[in-house]
């Protein structure tokens, strides 16, 4: 028994999720007049940024692996 997703799968999943969250956070920003949506936009923005950073970390790991591998 082992987890069926590998590093690349997680990488892809993080990329898609980060894009969805970042676009959503931007589109529902109060700067576009969306002041009546009942969700905590600050927290959504924070979550989007965290997922985005996680994706970038996975990319960094891949790059380091790629450079380190002879």
């Amino acid at each position: 028994m082992q987890f069926p997703l590998n590093f690349w799968d997680i990488n892809l999943w993080l990329a898609v999720t980060a894009i969805i969250l970042l676009i959503t956070a931007e589109l529902i920003s109060p700067y576009y007049g969306q002041t009546n949506l009942l969700i905590n936009k600050k927290k959504l923005k924070k979550a989007a940024l965290i997922v985005g950073i996680l994706f970038l970390i996975t990319i960094a790991i891949r790059v380091i692996n790629f450079i380190a591998t002879p």
Partner: protein, 252 residues
């Protein structure tokens, strides 16, 4: 448990079960589904809004207090504009006070004459009132993480639009212009629109103290500039969406 919490919990639980099955059956599709459900369950739980009240409730709670102010001002027969006193006039620097002189062209009271606990002032004649926007301005300070007493007009000019639009989400657009001793602020589609409209019907309150939003900004300006502030003009655009407030900085 309310419905939102329940939905989040169900999403999370189904996600965990899917993840468990994915490990058991080595199914990547189940793993993706599980991961997605766990993630979105957690995200939806995390971004739930704080407690909110309907706008009408806000309007109906505030209005009677403004009506009382109107009664006091009518009874006293004061016609002058209220002066928002800067911290140097007050014992408590973090507080705010509006002084309404009994007659126009009357000088401001000396700092030692000002007492936040008192209602009436004898020298010069007038009354000290707690501004209706005092607590809102304190909320602004809390959101900004600083006291307006430690800031200046430039800080207000740079940060107020972001505060009202992004941080507090009480307006769709805010523009600030400063010319000599006049600060003009235009606020579009703000949540205090209804209260401001009702305040306009209360002539004395409207002329001397202003609506809660104007009052809050006046408190902030008095603290930031360190000078007395009056609300010169407060008007609404024809479409009823934009409120234009003109503040005057008084040289003391």
């Amino acid at each position: 448990m309310n419905s939102t919490k329940l939905i989040c919990f169900v999403l999370f639980l189904v996600g965990v079960i899917a993840l468990a099955f994915s490990i058991n059956y080595a199914s990547s599709i189940l793993a993706f589904i599980g991961l997605g459900l766990v993630f979105w369950g957690s995200i939806l739980f995390y971004i739930r809004p704080e407690k909110y009240v309907k706008e009408t409730l806000l309007d109906n709670t505030t209005l009677p207090l403004l009506v009382n102010l109107e009664k006091i001002l009518k009874e006293l027969g004061y016609k002058s504009k209220g002066v928002y006193l800067p911290p140097k006039y007050l014992k408590n620097f973090e507080s705010s006070l509006v002084f309404i002189p009994s007659k126009t062209e009357q000088p401001l009271p000396k700092p030692e004459e000002v007492d936040e606990e008192k209602l009436y002032s004898k020298n010069p004649n007038g009354i000290f009132l707690t501004p209706p926007g005092l607590t809102i301005s304190k909320l602004f300070e809390k959101e900004l993480g600083t006291s307006f007493t430690r800031t200046d007009l430039n800080y207000i000019q740079e940060n107020l639009p972001k505060l009202l639009i992004e941080d507090m989400e009480i307006a769709e657009n805010t523009e600030i212009k400063t010319e000599n001793k006049t600060v003009t602020i235009e606020i579009t589609n703000h949540v205090f629109n209804e209260i401001c409209q009702e305040t306009r019907k209360l002539q004395k309150t409207h002329e001397s103290i202003g609506c809660p939003l104007c009052s809050a900004i006046a408190c902030a300006l008095a603290k930031a500039t360190g000078k007395p502030i009056t609300i010169e003009k407060e008007e609404q655009s024809k479409d009823g969406k934009t409120t234009k407030i003109q503040f005057s900085i008084i040289e003391d």
